[in-house]
């Protein structure tokens, strides 16, 4: 049996990791909530964003946390353009087509990255990457603590956008009743693209939070997206608070099951939750009833 100190540390680690999972899931759940598609290109976009953060550091000397301020709007624009210029025209208004287009996009993006940057694993070395805060019984890595705070700030901003701005209102209207929103004069294709842009911006910020302590290669995004799917299902498809709480829960579950069952079996806990949620509460923790 593990001592309480180790258990508490594992839970804290789980919360810190879970926050970044939550941010990736936030983007995914937003896009699902409005466009009603699972964005398969999410992982590839995360890899692309990690590369962007990597090169922002190497070529421009930009600290990843500052780079987030630059990359978030750039990736918002990229997401907007992808939805407006690629997904929307290619899908001819059919949701199933959109799904396939995002799947195709993920293959294209990943291979383009592989072609451009080879399969090398790259890391950046920041002076504060190894710094920790001494809690007396354990050390908490500073970069992950910063990540944790930033995720909550981003979630707050997203919440404010959704609740307090016209764009947010339009997004919520389209999510609830597409035809009604259209009749009320809301330009649905614009709202779709804005949502896709917001989801992609979340990914860009997540990348900037990850890069100080993690590595990047063209296929690195996949590992996060599988977990993000689980979080979206757990939290409720399309729910922002759901993604946040789901992310933290999954982070802790992963950490604890890793501790007790070993890293190899650690993922079992996550997927057991996935199956249990689908069986017992298919709408998720915060999901609206269908």
């Amino acid at each position: 049996m593990f001592s309480p100190v180790i258990l508490i540390t594992a839970i804290l680690n789980g919360l810190l990791t879970g926050a970044v999972y939550a941010l990736v899931a936030l983007g995914l759940t937003l896009i699902y909530g409005v466009l009603h598609i699972i964005n398969f290109a999410h992982g590839a976009l995360l890899s692309a964003a990690l590369f962007a953060a990597f090169f922002a550091f190497h070529l421009l000397g930009l600290d990843p946390y500052l780079a987030a301020l630059l990359l978030a709007p750039i990736f918002f624009g990229l997401g907007y353009a992808i939805q407006r210029l690629i997904i929307s025209p290619a899908s001819h208004g059919d949701d199933r087509n959109m799904l396939l287009v995002t799947l195709g996009l993920s293959v294209v993006i990943e291979n383009a990255l592989l072609y451009a940057f080879r399969a090398d694993t790259r890391t950046i070395d920041l002076p504060y990457a190894f710094q920790t805060i001494d809690l007396g019984f354990t050390f908490l890595p500073i970069p992950r603590l910063i990540g944790f705070c930033v995720v909550f700030a981003v979630a707050l901003v997203l919440w404010a956008i959704m609740r307090r701005t016209d764009v947010g209102k339009a997004i919520r209207a389209v999510a609830k009743e597409k035809l009604g929103a259209q009749l009320a004069g809301i330009e649905v294709s614009h709202v779709y693209a804005v949502t896709f842009g917001l989801g992609t911006a979340c990914v860009a910020i997540a990348a900037c939070l990850l890069i100080p302590t993690f590595y990047v290669n063209p296929s690195v995004g996949e590992a996060f997206v599988l977990i993000a799917f689980t979080i979206v299902v757990l939290g409720g498809m399309g729910s922002v608070p759901g993604a946040l709480v789901g992310g933290l829960v999954i982070g802790v579950v992963e950490s604890l099951s890793g501790l007790f069952l070993g890293e190899s079996l650690g993922q079992i806990g996550i997927f057991l939750i996935f199956i249990a949620v689908l069986l017992v509460r298919p709408t998720g923790l915060f999901g609206a009833r269908a």
């Binding site: 090398d120 190894f130 290669n217």
Partner: protein, 405 residues
């Protein structure tokens, strides 16, 4: 098929054969002088989880081929025409490439990298009596299944583990036996699990107590839990057996959580003897010891190759020189076989006494496909460089153990 397409094919055939005949009359000397060339399959996992190692392996193999071709190719056979394949980091990916390479008529296949891929590839190649030279894959089963087509120039698990343990015991005894307890952290596929099993049976015979063996998947995103467990048990020695990315994450997390065992001793550690790791994270890499594939530090050829790779902006990793050596081994065998014939090539490999290579090996002699001269060396990260510390005849420095506080 319609009459129309038949007629078209016939006309096209007539036209092209007339052209060919005309060309051979016009340029008889060129045709006779040109040797047919040899097709070689170069197979690595250049995408997927092992893509870094696979790409490095491909780099070494293609560089050797470039050098051979620049020097005029293989005597009597002409230039080597490489057919590059991607094993996708999976055994199925590897066997699919074998099928393609076989139908393209390659004389031999070189590569594989991961043990699981090598096992599958060797079996698939055996169906066509296609000679297969394993570049790295260390699982002993690769060469103990009686496959006549499979050859491994480098050392296998058994030899590496025995050397590693003997050397560990020697280093520990020499320092006054400061290390008694051990924790093993290994990746859970064939390579890591096989090694962990071997260590679990053999370490106690050398007087070490194993506190815990921790498996983890590849890829693993977070090593905090593993490091917590290490911290809780506080072993004298930590033995990691995993691939590059995970090795780096583990070492960095240990540094972050201030876990400082008396030594980190790896057996085939994915990053422990990697210049990339030492350059990027010198503090996390400091004093790490490894028993691994390594080049002969006294060989001018090996050092020239190192410079060539570094001038290209790449790291001189073991995948590079092992694949380089395998291509040279096959080229040597091809020259002796005198034909790109698979049976003759296999016979030439079997009787190979290939020398003058870049590896710190004894004389080349294949028994059941395994090179008996192959051996690993012990390295340690000292002064921001990787130095050979054992065996004595190749050593550049003395091992520093236990790690100074």
């Amino acid at each position: 098929m319609s009459d129309r397409s038949l007629a078209f094919t016939r006309r096209k055939f007539l036209a092209s054969s007339t052209l060919c005949a005309a060309a051979s009359i016009a340029m008889p000397s060129i045709l006779r002088a040109q040797e047919a060339g040899v097709k070689l399959g170069i197979l690595h996992p250049v995408s997927g989880a092992l893509s870094y190692s696979g790409t490095q392996g491909r780099l070494g193999a293609t560089l050797a081929i470039e050098e051979i071709n620049a020097a005029g190719g293989i005597k009597g056979l002409g230039k080597i025409d490489p057919m590059l394949g991607d094993a996708l980091s999976t055994p199925e990916g590897g066997t699919a490439e074998v099928e393609k390479m076989n139908s393209a008529g390659v004389a031999a296949i070189i590569g594989g990298y991961a043990s699981a891929v090598c096992l599958a590839v060797s079996q698939a190649a055996a169906r066509y009596d296609l000679p297969y030279v394993v570049d790295v894959g260390v699982a002993d089963a690769i060469v103990t299944r009686g496959l006549k087509n499979t050859f491994r120039f480098g050392p296998g698990f058994g030899v590496i583990a025995k050397t590693a343990l003997d050397n560990l015991a020697e280093i520990n005894n020499h320092a006054g036996k400061p290390a008694k307890t051990v924790m093993i952290v290994h990746e859970d596929s064939l390579f890591g699990s096989g090694l962990a099993k071997l260590l679990n049976t053999q370490l106690p015979q050398h007087g070490f107590e194993i506190l815990e063996t921790i498996p983890h998947p590849t890829p693993t995103r977070d090593f905090n839990n593993v490091v917590l467990k290490i911290k809780a048990q506080n072993p004298d020695l930590v033995i990691p057996a995993n691939y590059y990315n995970e090795y780096v994450l583990l070492a960095r997390t240990m540094q972050q959580q201030r876990v400082k065992p008396k030594g980190i001793y790896s057996v085939l550690g994915g990053a422990a003897s990697s210049y990339k790791f030492v350059k990027e994270f010198p503090d996390a890499a400091k004093y790490i010891m490894d028993c691994n594939h390594w080049f002969d530090p006294g060989s001018p050829k090996a050092l020239a190759l190192k410079k060539k790779i570094e001038d290209k902006g790449q790291f001189y990793t073991y995948e590079v020189y092992m694949n380089y050596s395998c291509v040279m081994l096959v080229a040597d065998a091809l020259a002796r076989a005198g034909a790109a014939d698979r049976a003759k090539l296999a016979a030439a490999l079997e009787s190979s006494t290939f020398s003058g290579h870049v590896m710190p090996y004894g004389p080349t002699k294949f028994v059941n496909g395994q090179n008996q001269g192959a051996a690993p060396v012990n390295t340690q990260v000292l002064d921001n460089d990787i130095k050979v510390v054992l065996p004595a005849n190749f050593a550049q420095a003395k091992p520093v153990f236990p790690i100074p506080a």
